[in-house]
C-alpha cells in the first residue's frame, strides 16, 4: 500500500465507520461535555465551587492510581494489586507517626517519614510484581493477582485487623488541606497526571514504554531494555497506589485495612479503558485516562444527585465501559 492509496481509501470511508473513528477519538470528551451540560440544565446547584471540589476530591485517588495503570497497560500488562497496595500504604503511614513502628522523637520528621516510607514500600512491592512479570515470565494478570490477594492480608496482619483512628494535621494536609482554595489532593492529582503526560510524550522512558507495548520483540531488537522498562512501570504503579492510599486514610482520619482501596483496581482499569488506552498495549493516553475517570465520576454524581441509588449507578458505569470499548474496537478496525 502506498501513501497515495491510503489517502484515496481515507476519502471513501463509509460514514458509519467515520462515526466510530471520530467517536473513538473524541467520544470520551464528548460524553464528558454532555454530562456537564446535562447537569447544568437539570442538577440544582451544579455550577458551584463546592460541587467542583466534591467531584475532584473524589476522583483524585482514581486518577492517581489510573495514571500508573495507564503506563502498565501501555506495556501490554495490567496491575490488579493497586487496591491492596493502597491498603498497605494506608496502614503503614499512621503506624509511623503514631509511633507503632519506632519511637517518634520529632513529629515533623515522623510525618515526613509517614509520607515517604509507605510510598517506598509500595514501590518495592510494585518491583516485586515487575520481577514476576519479567524474570519469571508470569502473565501480568496472574503475577499481580498474587499481591491483590496477599497485599490486603499483609495490611490486616500489620494492623492486627484493627481500625487505626488518628488526628494529625500535618499528615492530613494531603487530603484536607487547601492551596489557594484548591484541595491539596486535587493539586497532587494534576501534578502527577501532568508529569506522566509529559513523560510519555517527551522522555526516552515514555517512548520506550509505548514501544515495548507496541511490539516487544522489535523493541528488544532495537536495544530497548524491555525488562527494565517493565520493572519501572510496575514500580511507578505501586508507588502511585501508595500515594492514593495515604490520601484515603488522611481523608477518613482512620485507616481500615479491610476497606482502603477496595475495588480500586477495577475503577482504575475502567478509567483507562474509557479514556481510550488500548488494553493490548502500545498506547498511553494519560489525558484520556484523566477524562475517563472524570466521566465515570460524573455519571455517578449525576445519578446520585438526581435520586438514582448507588447500586443502579454501578450498572450505568458498567454500560459505559462496554460502550467505550465497543466504540474503540469499531474505530480500530481496518
Amino acid at each position: 500500500m502506498t501513501t497515495i492509496e491510503t489517502q484515496a481509501t481515507a476519502g471513501t470511508v463509509p460514514s458509519g465507520k467515520r462515526f466510530f473513528t471520530l467517536a473513538g477519538r473524541y467520544g470520551t470528551v464528548a460524553a464528558f461535555l454532555a454530562l456537564i451540560l446535562f447537569n447544568v440544565l437539570f442538577t440544582p446547584n451544579f455550577l458551584s465551587l463546592q460541587t467542583l471540589n466534591v467531584n475532584l476530591t473524589q476522583v483524585a485517588t482514581i486518577v492517581i492510581v489510573a495514571t500508573g495503570m495507564t503506563l502498565v497497560i501501555a506495556t501490554g500488562g495490567i496491575d490488579l494489586s493497586v487496591g491492596s497496595l493502597m491498603a498497605i500504604g494506608g496502614a503503614l503511614a499512621p503506624m509511623i507517626f503514631m509511633g507503632a513502628l519506632f519511637p517518634v522523637s520529632s513529629m515533623p520528621v515522623a510525618v515526613a517519614l509517614a509520607f515517604i516510607l509507605p510510598v517506598i514500600a509500595t514501590a518495592l512491592l510494585g518491583l516485586f510484581n515487575g520481577l514476576l512479570v519479567t524474570r519469571f515470565a508470569i502473565q501480568p494478570i496472574i503475577a499481580t493477582l498474587v499481591l491483590f490477594i496477599a497485599g490486603r492480608g499483609i495490611a490486616q496482619v500489620m494492623t492486627n485487623g484493627n481500625l487505626q483512628v488518628f488526628r494529625n494535621e500535618g499528615f492530613q494536609f494531603i487530603a484536607l488541606g487547601r492551596i489557594a482554595g484548591i484541595p491539596a489532593q486535587v493539586i497532587l492529582m494534576i501534578v502527577i497526571a501532568a508529569i506522566a503526560w509529559a513523560a510519555v510524550r517527551h522522555t526516552v522512558f515514555g517512548r520506550q514504554v509505548i514501544a515495548v507495548g507496541g511490539n516487544e520483540k522489535a523493541a528488544r531488537l532495537t536495544g530497548i531494555p524491555v525488562h527494565r522498562v517493565k520493572l519501572l512501570v510496575y514500580m511507578i504503579s505501586g508507588a502511585l497506589a501508595g500515594v492514593a492510599g495515604l490520601i484515603v486514610v488522611a481523608r477518613n482520619s482512620a485507616s481500615d485495612a479491610n476497606l482502603v482501596g477496595l475495588g480500586m483496581e477495577l475503577d482504575a482499569i475502567a478509567a483507562v479503558a474509557v479514556g481510550g488506552t488500548l488494553l493490548t498495549g502500545g498506547r498511553a493516553n494519560i489525558m484520556g485516562t484523566l477524562i475517563g475517570a472524570l466521566v465515570i465520576q460524573l455519571v455517578r454524581y449525576t445519578l446520585l444527585a438526581n435520586g438514582v441509588p448507588d447500586a443502579a449507578a454501578l450498572i450505568v458505569k458498567a454500560a459505559l465501559i462496554l460502550l467505550a470499548v465497543f466504540i474503540q474496537q469499531r474505530a480500530g478496525k481496518p
Binding site: T2, H202, V204, R207, A211, A218, A219, L221, I224, G282
Partner: protein, 497 residues
C-alpha cells in the same frame, strides 16, 4: 490419481498469491512440495483443505470434484494436515488427542477403555509404545508428531499433508518420522511433504512438485530430478536484473576485518558457521530456506546466545547477551520479518526511526525534539521515504518505505556493521534496486554490511563475496570473481556428508 488440483488462482486484496498452480498426488505416493518463502505452498494447501476459497481452478479428490468450505469438510473426506506447530491439545492425554471430537461412545458417554485400547493399537503400528494416559506435552516433538499422525490414521485419512515436519527434530527423530511415513505409504496413504532440507526430500519422497511465484514450475520423479535442477527451479530467475554494483573482494583484501565468525553454533539450526565481513564491503550470506541464515544473524547480534565457536568483532572476542550490547558496539540488524521484528506499527515514522538512537538523543532523559526532527528529516530526504509527514504511523507506509525507515533507524546510530536480513523482501522492483544502491553507497563510506538474501540476482549484483550456508553449516565462500549463478546453485545444492 488421488488428488489433482489444476489452474488454481488466488489473490489477496488484488495481489496474486497463486497464478494457475497445480498439484497432483498419486495413490500411496510421497510427494515433496518445495519452493521459497512466498512461493505459494501454504496458500495452495489452505485452498485444498478449505481454509481459503479459491478464485479459480478445479480440485478433484479420489475421483470426485470437490470444493471444501472449511477444514472440517476436507478432514471428513480424508485429508489430514499436520502443521509445524502441531495442533494438539497439549494438556490432554495422548489417547484423548487421537480421538479428539470423535471419542468412542457407549450409552452416550465416552468409552475411555475403547479409546485407550484404540490409541495403543494405532501407535503400535508405528512401533511406538508410550503411556497413552500422559498429556502430550510430556513427550518430545517427534512423538507429538507421531500422535498427530496417529490421529490422522484413525480418521481414515487418505492424504496426509505435513508442513515442515522435520524443522524441530534431531536426526534420530527424523529417522523415526520417516519410518512412520513409510508405514503410512504401505497402508495406501499418500503424503504431501513440505520441506526445505534437500537431503531429507531425496531420502523419503517419490516425486516432487516445485513452486515459484505462485506457479507450479516443475514436477517429476524425485530420483530423476538432479539437486542442481531442483535448486534452479526453486530460485529461478527474476525478470529484472540489477545493475552490478559489487566490487571484487580482492580489492579490499587489505581492509581490516570488522567481523569474523568461526565455527559458530547454537541449537540444531546453526551447526558450524564461519564467515567474515570486512570494512567497506558487502558480504553476502546465501542458502536455502531453513539453512540457518537468520539464526546466524541473531547469534551475531546477541538476540540468541552463542553455544559453540567464536565471534570476533573488530578483533575482539564477543558474546553478546542482549541486542543492546551489540548496538552499543556499533552493530545494527534489519530483521527479516518487518511486521514481527521490525516496526512498531502504531508509532509514527519519527518514533520508529529514532528508537535505537533515543538514549543518545536525550539530555537527562528528555528527548531533544529539535535534534530528533532534524535527524528524521535528513534521513527521510536521504533515503527518499515517501510519506505525508514524519508523524504518519509507519503501518500506513508501503513495504519499501517501511524498510527504508528501518534502515534509517540503524543508519542514524552511525553503525560500523550492519546486518540486513532479506532487505528487499516484499518490496517492489524499483525500490529493491534503490535499497541495494543505498547499501553499496554505505559500504563505500566504510560500513561493513552482511547481507542475507534468498534472491540470487541480488547477491550477484551487490555482494563482494558470498558465504553459502547449508543445513546450518557454511559450505562455501565464493569471492566476487568466482561468483555466478551456477556456482551459487552448486554450493546450495551441496550435500553435507
Amino acid at each position: 490419481m488421488l488428488l489433482s488440483m489444476h489452474g488454481i488462482c488466488k489473490s489477496f486484496n488484488g495481489i496474486p498469491a497463486l497464478r494457475s498452480a497445480s498439484l497432483e498426488v498419486g495413490e500411496a505416493e510421497v510427494m515433496a512440495l518445495v519452493g521459497q518463502n512466498g512461493a505459494g505452498k501454504s496458500t495452495l494447501i489452505k485452498i485444498l483443505t478449505g481454509a481459503y476459497r479459491r478464485d479459480e481452478g478445479s480440485i478433484a479428490f479420489a475421483g470426485e470434484d470437490v470444493s471444501f468450505n472449511m477444514p472440517a469438510e476436507s478432514q471428513a473426506r480424508g485429508i489430514a494436515t499436520i502443521y509445524q506447530e502441531i495442533n494438539l491439545a497439549p494438556q490432554r492425554s495422548v489417547a484423548e488427542n487421537i480421538y479428539l471430537s470423535r471419542e468412542p461412545r457407549r450409552f452416550g458417554l465416552i468409552d475411555r477403555r475403547a479409546m485407550r485400547e484404540g490409541a495403543v493399537a494405532v501407535l503400535r503400528t508405528f512401533n511406538l509404545e508410550i503411556d497413552v494416559d500422559q498429556p502430550v506435552a510430556h513427550f518430545s516433538a517427534a512423538t507429538r508428531q507421531m500422535v498427530a499422525i496417529a490421529r490422522a490414521v484413525t480418521q481414515k485419512a487418505r492424504l496426509v499433508i505435513m508442513d515442515e515436519p522435520t524443522s524441530s527434530l534431531d536426526e534420530r527423530e527424523v529417522a523415526i518420522l520417516f519410518e512412520t511415513i513409510r508405514t503410512l505409504k504401505r497402508g495406501g496413504v499418500s503424503v504431501v511433504f513440505i520441506g526445505h532440507r534437500l537431503d531429507e526430500l531425496y531420502r523419503i519422497c517419490d516425486s516432487v512438485t516445485i513452486m515459484r511465484d505462485g506457479k507450479t514450475v516443475a514436477t517429476g520423479a524425485m530420483a530423476e530430478m538432479p539437486k542442481l535442477a531442483l535448486v534452479r527451479h526453486m530460485l529461478g530467475k527474476e525478470l529484472a536484473a540489477f545493475e552490478a554494483i559489487a566490487k571484487d573482494a580482492d580489492e579490499g583484501a587489505q581492509r581490516p576485518v570488522r567481523l569474523s565468525v568461526e565455527n559458530a553454533g547454537a541449537g540444531v539450526r546453526v551447526r558450524n558457521v564461519s564467515l567474515t565481513v570486512r570494512e567497506g564491503e558487502i558480504s553476502g550470506l546465501a542458502g536455502l530456506l531453513g539453512s540457518g541464515r537468520t539464526e546466524t544473524a541473531n547469534l551475531i547480534f546477541g538476540a540468541d546466545r552463542l553455544e559453540r565457536g567464536e565471534i570476533r568483532y573488530k578483533g575482539q572476542a564477543r558474546s553478546y547477551r542482549q541486542p543492546a550490547e551489540a548496538i552499543a558496539d556499533g552493530i545494527g540488524l534489519v530483521s527479516e520479518d518487518r511486521k514481527v521484528d521490525g516496526i512498531i506499527p502504531d508509532m509514527s515514522i519519527r518514533e520508529n526511526m529514532t528508537l535505537a538512537l533515543l538514549p543518545k538523543l536525550a539530555r537527562s532523559g528528555i528527548v531533544d525534539r529539535a535534534r530528533q526532527d532534524e535527524i528524521v528529516a535528513s534521513y527521510i530526504a536521504a533515503l527518499g521515504i515517501k510519506c505525508t509527514s514524519p508523524d504518519q504511523p509507519i503501518k500506513e507506509l508501503s513495504g519499501g518505505n517501511q524498510q527504508k525507515v528501518l534502515l534509517g533507524r540503524w543508519l542514524c546510530t552511525d553503525p560500523k556493521l550492519l546486518i540486513v536480513d532479506e532487505p528487499t523482501r516484499g518490496i517492489d522492483i524499483g525500490a529493491k534496486a534503490e535499497i541495494l544502491r543505498l547499501l553499496r553507497r554505505l559500504a563505500d563510506e566504510g560500513l561493513g554490511v552482511l547481507m542475507i538474501s534468498s534472491e540470487l540476482e541480488e547477491l550477484l549484483a551487490a555482494a563482494d563475496r558470498v558465504t553459502v550456508l547449508s543445513d546450518g553449516t557454511s559450505v562455501a565462500v565464493l569471492p566476487r570473481r568466482e561468483l555466478s549463478e551456477a556456482a551459487l546453485f552448486a554450493a546450495m545444492a551441496h550435500q553435507v556428508e
